[in-house]
Amino acid sequence: MNPRNIPPATRDDPARERRHSLLGLVSSALLTGAAFALVLAQPFARPVLLACIAALALVQIGCQLFFFLHIDLRRSHRDDLQLVLFTSLVIVLMVAGSMWILSSQHAMMG
């Protein structure tokens, strides 16, 4: 625990990392604000609005993974990123499958 052990690596720079966190806060706040503003003002038709808030949410999730969870495309992060992508695949299969089954069950019962 000796500060002199810090190598001259550029990424280990407190000011830079504080800015990184601040960018996470600002980008998330802007994206959230935009999504709420769209829903309150409703300037477009409903399908367009739904696509917009879904896109804003996805971008914000990406921002938080990058700025707060430090997941990126660097080689040393590949395993973590692959795990995120594999989990996303499992989620898409399970969620899409469940929705399909539930909606056709509903259609047959109705």
Binding site: N5, S21, T32, A57, I61, Q64, R75, L83, M94, S98
Partner: protein
């Protein structure tokens, strides 16, 4: 290469420059915790799928998603949780760069307060729904609504309990290696709860008020 020195080894803030021994010890436990968090993400995704299905087909004469969701309250909750995610990243930076633990404890305490505020707001939402007679057993939709939000609520409450344990351990043991990696795992847990909340806000409150 995963085992090269001086590189990031795990999700979240890496402390390799600051404390190389703790960094090496941290890799397997944090990667393992990351696997747990991914399985948690699957749980939330399936609760959201159930919610999406129930909000279409499970109204059963009860309230609609638009009536049940309070957009203003969701805005306050989102702001509180986002602010707490930011203050936790300052906690991590204090862990990495500062020798005095006052900054770390201060930022983590502020994170805890913001988390408590979030829980308070959500508890108020739950109470107001039940006060209107819209309890979970009224319809499939309300069951799914309470299950999804309640699961997230419990996760945040667990995060706060974990924080309380960390305050005690910092006071008793100081910032040793084990305590430091526990705080790093708590950071991942906390940040991911905010990521899940983005999905919940978009699906339940924003999408709900457009329905």
């Amino acid at each position: 290469m995963r085992f090269a020195s001086g590189t990031d080894r795990h999700p979240g803030l890496n402390i390799h420059g600051r404390d190389p021994d703790a960094h090496r010890a941290a890799e397997p436990v944090i990667f393992g915790f990351w696997i747990f968090l991914m399985s948690d993400l699957v749980l939330f995704a399936l609760l959201m799928a159930t919610y999406a299905s129930m909000s279409l087909h499970g109204i059963a004469g009860g309230p609609t998603p638009r009536q049940a969701g309070d957009l203003a309250s969701a805005g306050v909750e989102t702001a509180l949780l986002l602010a707490s995610s930011f203050t936790f990243s300052l906690t991590s930076l204090a862990l990495k760069y500062r020798d005095d633990r006052r900054a770390l404890v201060g930022w983590m305490a502020l994170t805890g307060l913001l988390g408590l505020g979030f829980l308070g707001c959500e508890a108020k939402d739950f109470a107001s729904l039940i006060g209107k007679g819209w309890a979970p057993e009224l319809s499939g939709f309300l069951s799914a609504h309470f299950t999804l939000l309640g699961t997230h609520f419990l996760h945040v409450a667990c995060g706060l309990a974990w924080m309380a344990v960390m305050f005690v351990q910092i006071a008793v043991r100081g910032l040793d290696q084990a305590v430091a990696t526990r705080i790093m795992r708590l950071a991942l847990f906390w940040h991911l709860l905010d990521v899940v909340w983005i999905g919940i806000v978009t699906l339940v409150f924003l999408q709900g008020s457009l329905s």
